[in-house]
Symmetry: C3
Subunit: 294 residues, 3 copies
């Protein structure tokens, strides 16, 4: 797929060598705030990456010289401005941050958020929590200010944050609305790596991404994310799901090639793809459409 | 509401300025042990606080000179004494600690446990785990001794402790019955703040409480706690719940006032209340009555 | 039960004083790899321990001079070799690691994994995660290499690892396939104790085991594990389960003896057993048979 041909305004997309896609938020003048345009372009690119067999890892980042990685919703015109100004129906409203978060969480490739600046609101929830890995600048100011703005948490944070780091830390962040930094005890376990400068965040995430892209099976990643996101409600159901997934993947070319390359101490030549090598059984969970009817 | 007019024997209740209620366990002579009277008064006060729009934060604490924050069930007459001496029916018995824990967990205001002394049994489970925040004295001895007393864990700890800090740490505490202190690796993430002396615990929690009471929306807190306690069973259901909650809260006076005060760098004048400004949709979960028929 | 009379080939079983059973993996020549024979013997011994009232704690360990605690599946003949070589039906396949993990997780006694060497694959998932406690050598290399071998996670890890240490750390381990050591931030909270030498791991776990065996009620342990593994879907359901469990255990001989011994500062004389002193109500959850039909 030729991403350069796509008419994106709020993001830049480029393909690195080694099947790594890089999405850069391109709204530095607006502190990379969470606009309607950004929302739609992020949903589109993560849905494309999900389907593109040539991509194994996707990184979201921003220009490290921008005033923020993402300042959250643009508050200059009040909370009404960015995503809530036009709620016609309480039942048909769909949170923009949640729509972005679902596109990222459901992406079957490895997803990385490279947080090379301050982040607030949806810049933390939508643009960090649904990712598999979070890299961050040690000086980043991180804020989940919802209760201090008279609104509520969004972008799936009610489910994701307690699952990621436990309910005790999740409440410390969400019920205080405090501004914290990555060394805060309330965020322990959230970030995969903390870098001393803003400039180092993206390069560190890229090295990490390329190594994973070169040495992991795309199909294994898709099944593993599926099992972690939909593990079954009991140990017995989990056992049946894992058993089936193991049976479906055990005879793959990637499995044979990766084992052979491991013993021959060489880089593997990976050929299996999500499009061609997941079985009809996958996905085993019910995919629910919760789009607004409006 | 005039709390001083209520005839409490086991607790003291006072209203601080800034909508903060303070509940002090008043059984120092009995090591603040978990008596039937204390149980009933705690349930009553947390149900009152839940409904009182004038209260935004509630702190539970004890006299720091008492022998313990709460010594758990009074063992002087064996386990039969405090809450289990009169079990008439295995199916109709209701654990006292669990009844207290439900009243605290379901309270829609911010709840803080200021643990300014040693704590054991229900003094840890009922009087710490269901709270949003726990402040503690670094010298406190914390014990969950159930397996060393031939009984079982209670006060919702089976559900709450793994959710708060993970199943690995929960088992370390519950299956050993060991006495630990707040710096124990088995309790990492459980306490919001650890203070060096018993005397500092309550004042630190009060400063924290007043700042939150002054700057957070009562309605946002109620919805946020609702979303964290009832997040939906899937990301899709969570998305629908958050979207609806966001739609219900986005046009509130508090949202407008808090945003304005933020930009004007002044203290907000908060006027929305749980009684008047939650929608008919709230609560969205089924409220189940599990009271005993006895 | 006379365990020495059982014809085990892949494990050694011995009874220590104080109701502690020790299971030692006896495949040092094969790096203690996860063979079909080992699988069947581990399932058998954990099912026996579960039912044997004379055992209160079971430790799984290996010879500390072996090349590994468990090297995972034997890769010398590719992934086809150990457990997947004969998959006749995707729906009827049952993951060997998952079968072992279920036997350990469902064991009603205290279970300890004493990891005195390197561990990979099922040597981490099946042989560590389902245990109540994990002791480890600080120098152990721990690897969950599934995505680097073209297969998927197994042995209930999709459910257990996020519950034990949270989804953020679980993804760090499972989606990278990285080799880490016990001081890794990605494993924080997983291990109960980290010992400086391989030789110290088992003795430390044995001292811990004997103390627990001497001072905890076998019946309390069974109920507590039941409540932690099957806590109810809501706080109300949890309250009902805990209330019933408390009612069932409160009048036990162990409860009275343990309380008395506590006040008399002596070692208790424990007599209640899982066979004789759990009520008809236990287990309250549905036990599901997910054995293969093949």
């Amino acid at each position: 797929m030729d991403y350069s041909a796509l008419a994106f305004n709020e993001i830049l997309v480029r393909l690195e060598a080694d099947s790594v896609a890089v999405v850069t938020i391109n709204r530095a003048a607006e502190r990379n705030s969470f606009s309607r345009g950004l929302v739609n372009e992020l949903i589109r690119i993560f849905e494309l990456v999900d389907k593109d067999d040539n991509i194994r890892v996707v990184i979201l980042t921003a220009d490290p010289t921008a005033p923020a990685f993402c300042a959250g919703a643009d508050l200059s015109d009040g909370w009404k401005a960015p995503t809530l100004h036009n709620i016609q129906s309480a039942t048909d409203h769909r949170d923009s941050g949640g729509r972005v978060a679902m596109a990222i969480y459901n992406c079957r490739k490895i997803t990385i958020s490279a947080v090379n600046g301050h982040a607030a609101g949806a810049g933390v929830t939508a643009l960090q929590l649904p990712f598999d890995f979070r890299f961050v600048w040690s000086g980043a100011k991180i804020t989940l200010p919802f209760v201090r703005r008279g609104v509520v948490l969004e972008s799936l944070a009610s489910l994701l944050l307690p699952r990621l780091i436990g309910l005790s830390r999740a409440k410390a962040l969400l019920l205080t609305g405090a501004t914290v930094q990555p060394d805060s005890p309330y965020m322990q376990g959230l970030y995969h790596d903390v870098l001393p400068t803003r400039e180092e965040v993206f390069p560190a995430s890229l090295i990490f991404a390329k190594e994973l892209a070169a040495n992991t099976s795309q199909v294994s990643i898709a099944y593993t994310k599926g099992l972690l996101h939909h593990p079954g409600k009991s140990i017995e159901e989990t056992h049946l799901l894992e058993s089936r997934a193991l049976a479906e993947t055990s005879k793959s070319r990637d499995a044979e090639e990766l084992t052979r390359a491991f013993f021959e101490r060489r880089r593997p030549n990976l050929t299996d793809t999500v499009s061609n090598n997941t079985s009809e059984w996958y996905p085993w969970w019910t995919v629910v459409d919760v789009k607004s009817r409006l």
